[in-house]
Amino acid sequence: MSSLKMFEKPLGMRDTFPVIYEKIETVRQTGREFLRARGYDFIETPSLEYFDTVGKASAISDASLFKLVDSQGNTLVLRPDMTTPIARVATSKLLKEKIPLRLAYFANVFRAQQTEGGRPAEFGQMGIEIIGDSTVFADAEVIITAIRLIQAFGIESFKITIGHAGVLNCILKDYTESDEQASTLRKLLVDRNYVGFEEAVETFHLPKTKSDALLQFINEATTFASIEEIEKYVRKNDALEYMQQLVELINAADLSEYVALDFTLSSHMNYYTGMLFEVFADGSGFELGNGGRYDGLLHHFGSEVGATGFGIRVDRLLEVLPSQEAEDVTVAVIFNDLEYMKALQVANRLREEGKRVTLQSKKGLINEEAFTKQFDQVVYVSQEDLA
């Protein structure tokens, strides 16, 4: 193996330079204030978790986990998401104190990748979880919070698409002849392979009414404007009624313009038991975030309460954020050795005015012109200024 160059970093790891750092801080502050005002408590969990608890239960595929081994021989993982650790904490500790819980997080998660650039292996995630509430109101709260949070960041062009695992399963079950067929079709929908879906339906040799219904469903499934339109495909069931209520609640909050229905939405994880959604925004080619109800994960940790939430990827949020003008005024105070005392006073006075002040000795500068160019104002401290 060739030796590593000094500047190299592991694949997918990034440095955060000052400009980006400030952007992230703004996101953190905006998000924190917003979510706290809605009654969410922030929480942090360790970066390292056991593979057998959090790693296995996580929705992130095994190949994307960073694994290491501790001195007792247990396999550890760098947390690949926040939902699983929070489910672990909630079920083992917090749920005894307050139900339902409203938790929020802003933390870095880690996902290994072997392919190519453009995909960070460590990135920030911000989100909420409501644990211990199985009502449709909790799901509505999650979606409304997601919309309001994105608006709080100043993003206007975005869309949330909502589906329901129960509705999709019902359709797939009713129009196919075996569980195997239904699961083949579900897998194709997870990959968003509509062509493959149609081909698979052809190869099943289903009765014509069934295959026609499936083909027509897949044609229309992403363009339904209301719940009524899907009713012709699916017999009355609880899931559909649930979605009806959810849509009404979002309408009541007057946010329906941001929401679209997509009943092909499907997750590779079977613990997404109910409503699930994805968040998209103009400006990034990748999904901004996602969420949904995951009662199954709580069940995995031995608790039978409902849980729902969402997470937004901070790295993608930065791509779609409207650009902001830097408000700070930067000042360089440059002094000669003898005027140090006075320079300190000048600097303090300027700082009190709310300016960002850099105190720099003239002797320490190699290229004064290049240095001072970086600032909005330059103040030279000289004898005459002494008053």
């Binding site: 392979n193 493959g196 990034s284 990748f286 999904e287």
Partner: protein, 207 residues
Amino acid sequence: MDELTIAMPKGRIFEEAYQMLIDVGFNLPEEVEMSRKLMIEIPEEKIRFILAKPTDVPVYVEHGVADIGIAGKDTLLEQKRNVHELLDLKISQCYIASAGLPNTKMNEIAPRIATKYPNIAMNYYKEIGEQVEIIELNGSIELAPMIGLADRIVDIVSTGRTLKENGLVEYEHITDVSSRLIANPVSYRMKSARIQELVTRLKKFVN
């Protein structure tokens, strides 16, 4: 109306697909200058074409710099990128097959497969329970069995003429291939009306 960026593979498929868009009623100039330009703007239809190497089309679409694109199913299977596969355009139809010298068996210890589709080949042999070693080549795959580099090749076959001329025979049909309309997941939502309309028009034409 949203501006739509379409990633197209350079060459023969571009011409076929372009003609298809004209046939379904898009107001595009009959003759496009196919010199060395990599980008073609059609302001009347608010469409912008970018011309890419066929195997690169899914890259542009996955990153969202192109909203939709036209890519071969072989490329999609090989790269497994996160794009939506919307429509089979049924152009440039062919298939992927394994081939080798006539009347030969694969080496029993470590059969070697030469291919420019390492993932497709690996998945295929894995599924039929055959442990093989993959040798990746970028072109003239037919050479490999002829000079003893590999027992079999996995490659695209359209007429079978190249195989025949090099004295090879087809062994197994692996999968059918044709050009597909693909979409970026975000564009698919944010420009849903435009993309759906395009899909509906093309679908009618293709079937």
